[in-house]
Amino acid sequence: MIEIVQKGKSRPEMVINMGPQHPSTHGVLRLEVTLDGELVTHVRPHIGYLHRCFEKYGESVGDYGMVTPFTDRMDYVSAMNQEHGYVIAMERLLDIEVPERVEYIRVIMAELQRIASHLLAVGTFGLDLGAFTPFLYVFTEREKILDIFEKSSGARLLYNYMCIGGLMRDVDDDFKKDTEEFVRTFRPKITELQNLLTYNSIFIKRTAHIGVLPPKVALNYAASGPVLRGSGVKWDLRKNNPYSIYDRFDFDIPVGEGEVGTLGDCWDRYIVRVLEMEESCKIIEQALEAMPDEGDVQQNVPKRVRTKPGEIYARTETPRGELGYYIISDTSAKPYRIKARAPSFVNLSLLPAISRGSLMSDLVAIVGSIDIVLGEVDR
């Protein structure tokens, strides 16, 4: 749908709808773009096409444990991280101690999921810009991670694997071997990806100096994850506000430096994701080494979750940024209020601020570099 509006200007402005069925919007996102020639003067994102109101479901299902599958379905690309955030929030609210082995398995799962999610993000980002080959390469690797998940949890996308106080079941016997094997074979693939895409001059031309997000603006918009770190802010909840057992591992926080363009451009957000995969590998290796071999993963799982009135806001670092759960409990078996602060939702809200004045074709790159999952934006 194209509409041409003349507003007493020398040149008419054009309003174009991008989406909701546009391949580069990564789901059902509609952007109402106002153009002056090829230049974007204004973008109005329209969301809600996937809105299922999980918060209402959360308040009406049987009990707290039954909320976990809904969290999976928010960000379906990183379901493990969503579950991790929710169970941590509940454990902090109820003061439940989690066995060592469970903590390690959760961290390994969360980091594997982070790699899988970043692979998808950089793969589809390349795809948006016309690089088809890297997409196929990263999907091969992502497949291996999904195989590991499938062996332990029985599912490939929506796992429902973590539960309050523990895990649904112990990992598969081959888990340790498979994961070690994966990390060993995956490392050279990062280098391969770097050669294919990162320093490809066409890719750099399409991403450097594009969609620049200054650090101050990023903080004011409460951006998080690679979007914030791409602007050079060294902020990662795993390091700055450690949850679970992240304080035991040695890893770096990659930040954007404006290596090929301006600080905080699309390329910077992309490179942060690529470098983070390497850091996740480091965490997985250390966790595999320290993980206790024996232990009942269900020993601290409460038969029935009993709560008193209480309120908690707990946040964790998902591949897309800060995932917060605000839970209000009362004496009943169901949460009184459960709100998910979705990182994609917040990160998408800064799209109008960083796409003003860019070219229409660059808007595709900017949306891709924010890496949104609409299931999480709309909840």
């Binding site: 969301i47 809600g48 809105h51 109101c53 918060e55 209402k56 308040e59 902090r92 609210l93 109820l94 003061d95 603006v217 903080l219 004011n220 918009y221 409460a222 802010v233 902020w235 700055n240 709560t307 008193k308 009135p309 209480g310 309120e311 908690i312 806001y313 946040r315 800060e322 917060g324 605000y326 209000i328 409990s329 209020r337 709100k339 602060r341 939702f345 917040v346 809200s349 800064l350 601020a353 709309d378 909840r379």
Partner: protein, 170 residues
């Protein structure tokens, strides 16, 4: 130096002796400070700009409905990147007059959060530049996350009522 909620409460009390601030907590979880709606914007600005507090990010803004007290509320979770402290704040308003000043001009991120709270709870944010529904369609009726919400029967000729489908034998 990170401050606790108690310390921040005392600090705010000293800065605004005329405002009726209340420090509250439940049996479980973290405490919060309740601020009267008419003073919210002024205190929000102070929280962001004061050199000892520096709450530069609004992590989350959620609406809440208390049907027993006939109240609507927002809960704001703030974070100071440099200082490292966090704070939870609640602003409560009566259901009949659900107006809360918008803090969009202080933290840009409040824009979409406030639109969501308006969409889901019908809280009206005074001074918000673009207060429209965000997740539901513009012509949706009612506020879904209120406890007494009754879904509309149909939308654009589509039946929205959930009906149990009986399982067939084959």
């Amino acid at each position: 130096m990170a401050k606790s909620t108690q310390e921040i409460f005392d600090y705010l009390k000293a800065a605004y002796p005329e405002v009726d601030l209340v420090l509250e907590s439940a049996k479980l979880g973290d405490p919060w400070i309740t601020i009267p709606a008419e003073h919210w914007k002024k205190i929000a600005k102070f929280l962001r700009d004061d050199s000892d507090l520096r709450f530069d990010t609004l992590m989350c803004l959620s609406g809440i409905h208390y049907p027993d007290e006939v109240l609507l509320a927002i809960a704001c979770h703030l974070h100071a990147t440099e200082k490292g402290h966090t704070l939870a704040i609640k602003v409560k308003v009566p259901e009949s007059n659900p107006n809360i000043p918008s803090v969009e001009s202080i933290w840009k991120t409040a824009d979409w959060h406030e639109r969501e709270a308006y969409d889901m709870f019908g809280i009206i944010f005074d001074g918000h530049p673009d207060l429209r529904r965000i997740l539901c369609p513009d012509d949706w009726e009612g506020f879904p996350l209120r406890k007494d919400y009754v879904p509309q029967e149909s939308y654009m000729g589509i039946n929205t009522k959930y009906t149990e489908v009986e399982a067939s034998d084959d």
